[in-house]
């Protein structure tokens, strides 16, 4: 019987090895090149695209099912032999789904991905180089957004919908502290924060876990142009962190928000924070949590740092380099992100398009006095598109770099480490990561 069990185990293991050991894994990028070459040749021979494409979306179903099916139907009018199916995954599981799919050689052909993971996997050769495959449409997109998918000198995705920030504020809290409008700069914001905190106990400016963004917002580069060395350990950064430490010691921002343990949306809904600088698409969260707070809230322009730029947070559309139908997949990615489809999507959701022509459409010009607060928020966000930049460095290990900076700042705030020491240590660690 022992032999039978042993044989059974061996057979199962052999099945597993055979299932996992596909030739794609062994041949890797060389095969990808050959697939591309073959498909380029095919494309030369016939312009008609065909095949099955799986399109992975993030948390868009069933809310936007009709819109996405409409895009696919329109695409099929031009390319009737391409069969597109949608696979929607929850936001928190994108990385796991992509990695497990890739391990099983079942990577979706077209994928909606966040910028950090895109860079991580793009650097490993997972996606098609869009600088080569879609260079003819590059000028349609905002330059700063096109570059969001750049890593090691190549762009691995098309920018899809994007969000820039606007401000949602609670006029009652401002009024209680003697203010008739929101701040326009961080400096003014901190001054107002002190008064609001003293009068109402609510916060104003908050520092969340994205502390690394405070450098480019204030004209401090994270890395050099080549992406080979950290450049944030400068006197301006030391001064900025010293100021933040003083503000924390005065109780003007809570540690749990900085540590990403407390969502700002919840604090805003509880009227524990006077304003929230975020994408207008998130304003609806307040309506879900506390409609009475949402109804009295107003939208305004976002606060900008000394550099006068805002952050562009872009959703990317990448194409698997192992797709059996790379050309059809790239064509679908271009179609999905074109002016017409992004504008139509903006009608369905509170997002901004990444293409210049769509962003200039009169749809985004609303009367902010009359408009509903999220529409007004989108108007302000759209106005900031021109000053929006992708603040993510074009290197593969952005996640680790952000984590190093985040932890250095936490040591300053929670463990009273000198900002100059923390920054010097962080610089050393980031330089080690970039080796």
């Amino acid at each position: 019987m022992k032999k039978t069990i042993l044989l059974l185990l061996m057979a199962l293991f052999a099945m597993f090895v055979v299932a996992c050991g596909s030739d794609d894994v062994e041949t890797g990028t060389e095969d990808n090149d050959s697939v591309d070459t073959e498909q380029d040749t095919d494309q030369d021979e016939t312009t008609e695209l065909s095949g099955d494409i799986e399109f992975m979306t993030i948390d868009l179903m069933p809310t936007f099912e009709e819109y996405l099916n409409g895009v696919i139907a329109d695409f099929n009018e031009v390319h009737p032999n391409v069969n597109v199916t949608i696979r929607d995954v929850p936001l928190g599981q994108v990385e796991q789904v992509v990695l497990t799919s890739a391990a099983g050689d079942q990577l979706p052909d077209v994928m909606n991905l966040n910028t950090d993971f895109l860079k991580r996997a793009g650097a490993l050769g997972a996606f098609v180089n869009m600088d080569e495959k879609a260079s003819h449409v590059k000028d349609h997109y905002f330059e700063g957004l096109w570059n969001a998918g750049e890593v090691n000198g190549s762009v691995y995705a098309l920018p899809w919908y994007t969000t820039t920030s606007s401000m949602l504020y609670n006029p009652e809290l401002l009024e209680a502290a003697g203010f008739d409008g929101p701040p326009s700069t961080y400096e003014e914001g901190w001054e107002m924060s002190k008064a609001i905190y003293e009068e109402t106990g609510a916060y104003g400016n908050l520092i969340d876990s994205n502390i690394h963004l405070h450098f480019p917002r204030n004209g401090i580069d994270l890395l050099n142009a080549e992406g080979t060395a950290a450049t944030f350990n400068v006197p301006e950064a030391v001064e900025l962190w010293e100021e933040y430490k003083e503000l924390y010691d005065e109780g003007l921002f809570p540690a749990d928000v900085m540590l990403n343990q407390q969502p700002i949306s919840e604090l805003y809904a509880q009227e524990k924070v006077a304003w929230w600088i975020t994408g207008a698409q998130l304003f609806g969260q307040i309506n879900d949590l506390a409609p009475e707070v949402y109804n009295k809230s107003l939208a305004a322009e976002p606060i900008v740092g000394t550099a006068g730029v805002t952050v562009a947070d872009t959703m990317n559309i990448a194409v698997s380099s192992k797709s059996d139908n790379v050309d059809a997949a790239v064509e679908f990615a271009i179609f999905l992100t074109n002016d017409q489809n992004q504008l139509a999507f903006a009608h369905e959701a509170t997002i901004l398009p990444s293409t210049i022509e769509a962003a200039n459409d009169e749809f985004f010009s609303v009367d902010v006095e009359e408009a509903e607060v999220s529409q007004a928020g989108r108007y302000y966000a759209a106005q900031s598109l021109e000053n929006a930049v992708n603040m993510s460095p074009a290197v593969e290990n952005t996640t680790e770099i952000y984590e190093v900076i985040r932890q250095a700042f936490q040591r300053v705030i929670l463990e009273d480490v000198e900002p100059s020491d923390a920054l010097a240590d962080a610089e050393e660690q980031v330089n080690a990561l970039l080796q």
Binding site: M1, I5, L99, R120, N260, L414
Partner: protein, 284 residues
């Protein structure tokens, strides 16, 4: 023969399931721990390099230290408190089953829901600090201090595991012969002496069992940390399994993550052997 064949059939089905979902992936992970596997690129065997890196990795040592600290906080509490609780609910009182149900109830709550609820309560402006403020105590930075974050996690784990382990001890208590307690009563033993000299020795195999499974679950804990603190602040609540998750799914170092898993496996194995040596002794 007929019965034997049926028995083999019923044993084979779970064996196949265990093989497909546990043993084969474990063997595959062990093989991957000697590679630089990152899903997207060809696999290269790199010998024991991952294991050398693990042992010299500050992040791993920190995660292991956090995990051991969490285990020390959690496992004794998950033995002592459930024994007390089991002794209490083992009394013949009217409505005692309602108490058993109430104590068991936290086990039924999803770990993610538990984590979110406790995160709210532990927040700087949460209910715990509010209650402390009513009696003039300064707020505690439950989840935002490197010193208090692990004890806070342990409180949540003990709260949720109390009822689960109570059931094991309740089952063991019901197997203790009543005559022994009656004899102890005649000898004039008090409540404490009866349980120290009769109950504890007789339920020692169950104590060993609970020690082993609560140790394993303490070493495997990661959902709570991921949901409540993401391993922070300053990695003070990063456990080994959370580190494995981050290495595998955030940094795409599958080979390295596999190596960490096997080092953890060896650590758990050693602790289980030590547990067995001290606790798994037959009552004579």
């Amino acid at each position: 023969m007929y019965k034997t064949r049926h028995a083999w059939f019923f044993l084979t089905v779970p064996l196949i399931l265990l093989s497909v979902f546990t043993f084969i992936p474990a063997i595959a992970a062990f093989i991957l721990s000697f590679t630089n596997y990152n899903v997207f690129q060809p696999i290269e065997f790199i010998g024991i390099q991952n294991y050398i890196d693990v042992l010299s990795d500050h992040s791993f040592r920190n995660a292991l230290s956090n995990t051991v600290y969490f285990w020390i906080l959690v496992t004794p509490a998950l033995i002592i408190f459930p024994i007390f609780l089991a002794i209490l609910v083992n009394q013949k009182l009217k409505g005692i089953s309602v108490f058993r149900l109430i104590y068991y109830f936290p086990v039924l709550v999803s770990i993610v829901v538990t984590a979110i609820l406790w995160r709210w309560m532990f927040a700087e402006s949460g209910i715990f600090n509010y209650v402390l403020s009513l009696v003039g105590i300064d707020p505690i930075r439950w989840l935002t201090s490197t010193k208090t974050v692990m004890p806070a996690m342990a409180i949540v784990t003990v709260w949720q595991g109390l009822g689960y382990y109570m059931l094991f001890f309740l089952a063991a208590l019901q197997g203790v012969p009543k005559e022994l307690y009656e004899a102890a009563d005649i000898d004039g033993a008090n409540f404490v002496k009866k349980h120290v000299y009769i109950t504890i020795p007789l339920i020692k195999p169950m104590i060993f069992f609970v020690a082993v499974i609560s140790t394993m679950s303490a070493f495997k804990e990661f959902t709570l940390m991921l949901t409540m603190t993401s391993g922070g602040p300053l990695n003070a609540s990063t456990t080994v399994v959370l580190l494995v998750f981050k290495e595998a799914f955030e940094r795409v170092n599958m080979g390295y993550a596999s190596a960490i898993s096997f080092v953890l496996f060896v650590v758990i194995l050693i602790i289980t052997i030590i547990n067995k040596k001290f606790l798994d002794t037959d009552y004579k």
